[in-house]
């Protein structure tokens, strides 16, 4: 069941990605109903699979959940912001992540010594949700910079035609950051709670680096909200902070390799 729903979701996400990318290849844009309907069907199938994955043990279920949230944000971006171009990033990313999760194996290799507590599952879910929001902020910022460059350089090609207006991308970036950061913060707080309640052991390096990254993300949100940065500067800040998170994650994974745990 878990594998079947994941394979169905994989196929639908791949189709949704093709639909989003088709206009960039000079094909007629797909109807909006299809742009929304196909990923929604994928999300429905995927959600069924993810619900059966709990407790989340290992990298694969976490990647699967991250893919689910990205697909969800792709639909939300199109529905609320008419930003189907977000799918240029989220589509391949969600498809790739779910594909990777299937490759790694959705059944954890190492069985947990003890089952996950509900708090632990909530911590993981909220943290991944926050991470997906920050990824959306990163994507909006990247799209912003691409469109900005095209407009400044007076190039009126596919990016100019198919990407949303700058201001809308800036709004999407702003919203993702200001919602994503508190979500990540909540996830971190729950993580502390879980750790000190004795749920899951976390080494000191992860705590230190995690806190540092939280501060970097806080800075990106702070310059937007407190110092009222907008546009290109805010986009750069958003991209820099998310890139820092990714780099630190990769560094930590290199020091503690394996697929048994996400962190």
């Amino acid at each position: 069941m878990v594998l079947t729903t994941h394979f169905v979701a994989l196929g639908l996400y791949a189709l949704a990605t093709v639909l989003v990318l088709a206009p960039f290849a000079g094909l007629r844009p797909a109807p909006r109903g299809l742009l929304l309907g196909v990923p929604i069907a994928g999300i429905a199938a995927h959600a069924l699979g993810v619900m059966r994955l709990t407790p989340f043990m290992g990298v694969a279920p976490t990647l699967s959940m991250l893919a689910l949230f990205l697909a969800l944000f792709q639909v939300a971006s199109e529905a609320a912001f008419r930003a189907s171009a977000v799918g240029v990033f989220t589509g391949p990313l969600a498809t790739g992540l779910i594909g990777l999760a299937l490759l790694i194996g959705l059944v954890p290799e190492a069985r947990p010594v003890a089952g996950r507590s509900p708090w632990s599952i909530l911590h993981i879910t909220i943290s991944i949700l926050g991470l997906a929001m920050l990824a959306l902020a990163f994507i909006a910022a990247a799209l912003y910079l691409l469109q900005f460059r095209e407009l400044k350089a007076k190039r009126f090609g596919q990016v100019f035609r198919l990407f949303p207006p700058l201001e809308r991308l800036d709004q999407l970036n702003h919203l993702s950051l200001v919602v994503g950061f508190p979500t990540v913060t909540l996830g971190v707080l729950l993580g502390f709670g879980v750790r000190y309640a004795g749920g899951v052991s976390v080494n000191a390096a992860q705590v230190v680096w995690g806190m540092l990254m939280w501060l970097v993300l806080g800075w990106a949100v702070g310059v937007r909200v407190v110092r009222h940065w907008a546009g290109r500067r805010a986009a750069f800040a958003s991209i820099a902070s998310f890139a820092a998170v990714l780099l630190v994650y990769l560094a930590l994974k290199l020091t503690t390799p394996g697929t048994q745990r996400f962190l």
Partner: protein
Amino acid sequence: MSITVLGVNHRTAPLEVRERFAHAVGEVPQSLERVLAAGARGGVLLSTCNRTEFYLAEPDDAVPEAVWALLSERLGGAVGRSASEYGYIRRDRDAVRHLYRVSAGLDSMILGEPQIQGQVREAWDVSKPVAGPVLHRLFQSALLVGARVRSETGIATGAASAPSAAVAVAGKIFTQLAGRSALILGAGDIAELAATCLVAEGVRVTLVANRTYERAKAIAEELGARALPLDEAWDHFSDCDIVLSSTAAPHAVVTWDRVAPAIGRRGGRPLCILDLAVPRDVEPAVAQLENVFLYDLDDLQAVAAHAAAERRNDIPAAERIVTEEVERFWGWYGGLVVVPVLREFRERMEAVRAAELERTLRRLPHLSPEDRDQIEYFSQALLNKFLHQPTVALKEAARAGRGYGLLDALKRLFGLERRDGT
């Protein structure tokens, strides 16, 4: 029976000629009345800045001359040529195809432009009292064809003119244009035209600045804005969203020194500057300022050309729809013409049969009533047999849109001209 279009358009006549042919709405009935008096069953006059065309149902031979005479009068000897030298005539299917292509924007100066659809509708509305049933149907279908082509192909996508490109470019910077404020520099026609396009999108023109204050005031009143002298405009670069510049200055008037301080106070909000003047009004260095997006006429024409190139890819699909719809109309039209002519044909043959039967029976008085009935039945059956194949062939040809040629032959062969009321 036939449908004919006579006219001139942007391909056949220069602007100075076309503007003389252009009819105001109030002039249309008078011109149509005059043309119809030369012998036509119905007419519609489509007159825009790019074309003046008379669509006529069943015109007599004298009608083209009447049309060219009417248009030549409007030239008034100004160009020393007759209107017919700029004109064209399309008949029957070609005339229908022509109108469908016009309505679809395939014959427009800017491929796929949407205004022509409204102009076709207006021409039909104004000419309705004298259009007649055939042209009524033709124009009704032309509007549907225009709508179908626009919805099923990409012929109307993108911004294919400079003013609409200005709107498209601004629309890629701001989430929505409605409620944005615009500052107009200069009071020329181009600025006014582009401002009208922006206003149509909901942009508020708040200020109009011009070297001549009185001229600025006149345009500002039209647009519901405030007028100010040009030199007082620079400070307002801090609070407007769009600047539209089209002064007649021989050098750049919007310079870095003049506007950089005001733009610095914008707090990073984007500013879209549309420079429609030739020579340019805005110093290129202004584009280096943070979050300033500067576009001149060449840039906007590049946007328009890009959209036009995209639209050109859809011409074959649009032409296919037009061809399909021409055949549909022609099928209807052929059927419309066939019914009365066939009725007339059968009546004529029946009259001949009845007359010959009566003459034959007069010569054979010895026949019994049963024999006379047999002979009458024979004549009836023979006539039906003779008429069956031509009737079927004509109806089939009409359904396939080829009825008109066969019908013409039938009318000539059996002397039906002028007896079917056509």
